[in-house]
């Protein structure tokens, strides 16, 4: 099963600096291609990446490793990686490995929007 990667950069004011939509299989043979396509994205001063996994059917530790590396890089710049539309079998792999502690995993974009709105209100209340 191949991997399709769709990267879109989001202008400021919206949910994430970059949204990465994945479809197919993220495994030992396809993970290097995701790394290659992420490199120029991460070379920019972005602080937030949203991975949309609605059509991701299979993931192995090689794929989780790419997510963990991306999360680490974003965390070092005060940012974060988030995940949305994760299929149950993919979420189970995340939970087994516990490789991505504290990442935001949203059921859908509505849940993500509520989370971001609440965070924004909290930020404004504190400023």
């Amino acid at each position: 099963m191949p991997l399709q990667i769709q990267i879109s950069k989001v202008v400021s004011g919206q949910a994430a600096d970059a949204t990465i939509k994945l479809a197919g299989s993220l495994d030992t043979s396809t993970a290097p291609e995701l790394e290659r396509q992420l490199a120029p994205v991460m070379a920019q001063p972005i602080k937030s990446v949203l991975f949309d996994l609605a059509d991701l059917k299979f993931i192995s530790s090689a794929g989780v490793r790419v997510f963990a590396t991306t999360r680490k890089q974003l965390k070092e710049r005060g940012g974060q990686a988030s995940f949305v539309h994760m299929q149950p079998q993919i979420q189970e792999v995340f939970e087994i490995i516990k490789a991505l502690p504290g990442v935001a995993i949203f059921k859908d974009t509505a849940e993500m929007d509520r989370y971001l709105a609440a965070r924004q209100r909290s930020h404004e209340a504190g400023s």
Binding site: D27, S61, I97
Partner: protein, 134 residues
């Protein structure tokens, strides 16, 4: 079914796809197909990366058998002997990411055995079919 494969990530996925097709043809549950294919991907990737050092001139074998309600997959190679202490160290490293493959193999199989016979490494994975039915 027995497959002869070269030590590359693409060949690992060729074995995984063959196992997935085996599961479909034998009407296995989706949970079983996902579990065994992930376990094979992790195990075979470790063989390719560590035992065979991604040398595409080297081969490994995968055999797939179903006996009643048990699915058995064996991965055999003639590479470097497996070191369980090194694997345990990689799994617990806080620094570099990695070392999660064996955790996934153990979670998705019911029995995992490694043996060294002469110059061959043999990994035997088995899963009880239908075990995740509620």
């Amino acid at each position: 079914m027995t497959l002869e494969l070269k030590a590359t990530p693409e060949e690992v996925m060729r074995a995984v796809e063959a196992l997935r097709q085996f599961g479909v043809e034998h009407c296995l549950a989706e949970a079983d197909i996902f579990g065994v294919t992930l376990a094979l991907e992790e195990c075979a990737s470790n063989v390719v990366n560590h035992a065979l050092k991604r040398d595409s001139t080297k081969n490994f074998q995968v055999t797939i058998n179903q006996a009643g309600s048990e699915l058995v997959v064996e991965v055999t190679d003639e590479g470097v002997e497996f070191d369980p202490q090194l694997a345990a160290k990689e799994a617990s490293d806080d620094g570099p990411v990695g070392g999660w493959g064996l955790q996934l193999v153990r979670r998705y199989t019911d029995d995992l055995r490694y043996s060294r016979a002469g110059n061959k490494n043999v990994w035997r994975l088995s899963r009880r079919l239908g075990r995740d039915k509620s």
